[in-house]
């Protein structure tokens, strides 16, 4: 910090001392600024258009005919959409709870102990984060089909794809995200605090509950919020793992989009967008909180 400050000062001094011979037009700086502007337009224009059109009075087409909140009221009254929203929240909540528990334990095991194959396990943890959703989705579908067939032939159980397979699938990819986030927060955790607690007479379980867990809790909550968001937003894995009649918000939107892009879809998408943004910001805030706690 001190060094950067000193460097900055030195730069300022240098800049001030440099004799100005003639005024130059900083083309490079302008080009960069314009590039940044275009990038943001490219990223955000579709989203802005989506949000705008969710308030468009026109039922069809892309002509602007005036402001309305009609589509949001329609959303609120559609039973099908409400059912889908409820399913989404159920899937997200349950899968987040399970994934957070398993992911946190995995992160603790990976950070604390040294064992054979730990590094390989560590790298494997990142795999679901990296591989394309479609690959994971197909793999899970194959896994479900195979295990259902096996269970039927051995135990006579007749299992079908349904809501629970969606939840299991979401747990599968969410574990990785939770583990990655909790590991980051464990990396910030000062190991000497554990020694200090032990020195003061705390048994290992007391150290965990009184010192370690409270200090990494923001990281765990951050991981959980991220998992919840990813679960809400997921389409591909849900689409493959769901049984007939199971619809989350994303699959419901997809079902409607097959006919035409209605203003209602714009409205649902806007709601999901706002919800995801709030959750992601909250998640980052929780993770930030931990780092500010460390002395």
């Amino acid at each position: 910090m001190a060094k950067t400050l000193a460097d900055a000062r030195a730069n300022v001094r240098h800049g001030g001392e440099r004799p100005v011979t003639r005024k130059r037009v900083p083309w490079g700086a302008w080009a960069l600024r314009i590039n940044a502007l275009l990038t943001y337009i490219f990223l955000y224009a579709p989203i802005v258009i989506l949000v705008l059109f969710s308030f468009n009075a026109a039922k069809f087409g892309t002509r602007w005919t005036g402001w309305t909140s009609q589509w949001y009221r329609d959303l609120w009254q559609s039973e099908k959409l409400q059912a889908a929203a409820w399913t989404s929240i159920k899937v997200a909540s349950i899968s987040t709870l399970i994934a957070t528990a398993i992911g946190t334990l995995a992160a603790l095991a990976l950070s604390k102990t040294r064992w054979r194959g730990r590094r390989a396990f560590d790298s494997a943890m990142y795999l679901p984060v990296i591989i394309p959703d479609i690959v994971l989705a197909v793999a899970l579908l194959g896994f479900f089909t195979l295990s259902f067939r096996g269970l039927q032939s051995w135990l006579g159980l007749n299992l079908q794809l349904g809501l629970s397979t969606v939840i299991i699938a979401h747990v599968a990819f969410n574990i990785s995200y939770v583990t990655v986030v909790v590991r980051a927060s464990l990396a910030n955790f000062d190991q000497r605090l554990e020694e200090a607690a032990a020195d003061l007479g705390a048994a290992p379980w007391q150290i965990f509950w009184r010192i370690k867990l409270p200090l990494i809790l923001p990281g765990i909550l951050g991981g959980a919020l991220l998992a919840f968001t990813l679960s809400l937003d997921d389409f591909v894995v849900t689409f493959f793992a769901r049984g007939p009649g199971v619809n989350t918000l994303t699959t419901e939107v997809y079902g409607r989009i097959k006919r035409y892009v209605s203003p209602e879809i714009n409205a649902i998408s806007t709601v999901m967008l706002v919800l995801s943004m709030v959750l992601v910001v909250l998640s980052l805030f929780m993770q930030r909180r931990q780092s500010s706690r460390t002395v």
């Binding site: 000062d190 000497r192 605090l193 020694e195 020195d199 003061l200 705390a202 048994a203 200090l215 706690r293």
Partner: protein, 372 residues
């Protein structure tokens, strides 16, 4: 110090027998034997990497010795985990719990022991008063200055009334002025509580001024144990003489011994008589160690004592209480001399100047003949 009078087997606060610790084949601590008495202020002094912190961590229970035994208060602690040992540590980094208030930090040890709430409250208050932070209970550690955090760390440890308090360079992170203040406070606290302190430091002045006894360590071994004056005045090895205070060294060979005074001839044929703290024999290769404040410069005629050498003054640095002078011996080697400025004067003739000639002298008891 033992309340039951002299016993057949005196119980030491801490006893280390042949303690060794190896990390991946290299010895960090090598065959250390120490007996630390009840109520003693004992310092482990050495350069960084000498194994002093590893030794402390083994007493605390954070590391297990590779060999040897550690006995605390008469009980062999073997592989007893740290939370069962009757010792507490003040960490160099303080390691205060950032999410707990000062009060909760200090109360932590008593809570772990299951002490009743009302007693915890009074004892925490007393401990905070002891370290002069009575009004700071509700603050978080990050709201405190370094010196205040240091005091909280101290209160958090002593509140448990441990048999032994381990201090791992506790003052290293403080600035000089605060460090001097805390040194005095530490010493007073230790005398008041009567707890055995084992104090790790690389600061020789700190060790000399605070300790009842000092163990000087290097490369994982204890080189010398003794009271501060003994360590300074009678170092047994060149390392100890060099590490504690300043020292001039002259290599040589013993030629004769009479009445406990060893005659040494240096490689450049200077004949020096000195005292050997450990037995030497004629023919031994030795190192003569002479502290710069224990010699005299005399002007004029050759003084009629055994150790007198004609020298030329090379450099003179006036530093207030002393004048530090570098002289050149007849063989060309340089030698540090500190003269105390005992008389207040501005007369330039009272001070040496570069180029002056003088006789460098010392008594045999101030020249130590060391074998290593």
């Amino acid at each position: 110090m033992n309340p039951h009078g002299p016993a057949a087997n005196p119980v030491w606060a801490v006893e280390l027998n042949h303690v060794t610790k190896t990390f991946h084949g290299t010895a960090a601590v090598c065959d250390v034997n120490l007996r630390i008495a009840d109520g003693e202020f004992f310092s482990l002094l050495g350069p960084s990497g000498c194994g002093k912190t590893t030794l402390l961590r083994m007493i605390a229970g954070f590391e297990a010795p590779s060999d040897g035994s550690i006995i605390i208060g008469g009980t062999s602690v073997g592989d007893m985990p740290p939370h069962r040992r009757d010792v507490n540590t003040v960490f160099q980094s303080y390691a205060l719990f950032p999410h707990l208030s000062v009060r909760e930090n200090v109360a932590f040890g008593l809570q772990m022991k299951g002490v009743p709430k009302a007693e915890i409250a009074t004892r925490v208050q007393a401990a905070l008063e002891l370290v002069q932070l009575p009004g700071f209970g509700d603050r978080k550690p990050r709201q405190l200055s370094g010196g205040q955090q240091q005091r909280v760390a101290l209160a958090r440890a002593v509140i448990n009334r441990p048999k032994v308090l381990l201090l791992d360079e506790p003052l290293a992170a403080l600035d000089l002025k605060l460090r001097k203040e805390m040194q005095i406070e530490l010493k007073m606290l230790q005398e008041r509580l009567g707890i055995t302190f084992i104090f790790v430091t690389h600061d020789q002045e700190e060790a000399l001024s605070l300790s009842d006894r000092i163990a000087v360590m290097n490369h994982g071994s204890v080189l010398q144990v003794g009271p501060p004056a003994e360590i300074y005045e009678r170092p047994l090895t060149q390392f100890v003489a060099d590490f504690i205070g300043e020292c001039n060294f002259l290599p040589g060979r013993v030629t004769a011994i009479s009445d406990g005074i060893a005659e040494v001839e240096t490689s450049s044929a200077l004949r020096i008589s000195g005292t050997a703290p450990q037995p030497v024999a004629p023919g031994d290769q030795v190192m003569i160690a002479i502290r710069p404040e224990k010699v005299r410069l005399i002007e004029g005629e050759r003084p009629s004592i055994s150790n007198a050498f004609p020298v030329q003054i090379e450099r003179v640095a006036y530093i207030g209480s002393d004048t530090r002078i570098i002289v050149r011996l007849p063989d060309g080697s340089s030698f540090d001399v500190w003269e105390s400025n005992t008389i207040s004067t501005l007369d330039p003739a009272a001070y040496y100047a570069a180029g002056d000639k003088a006789w460098l002298t010392w008594t045999p008891q101030n020249a130590l003949v060391l074998t290593e």
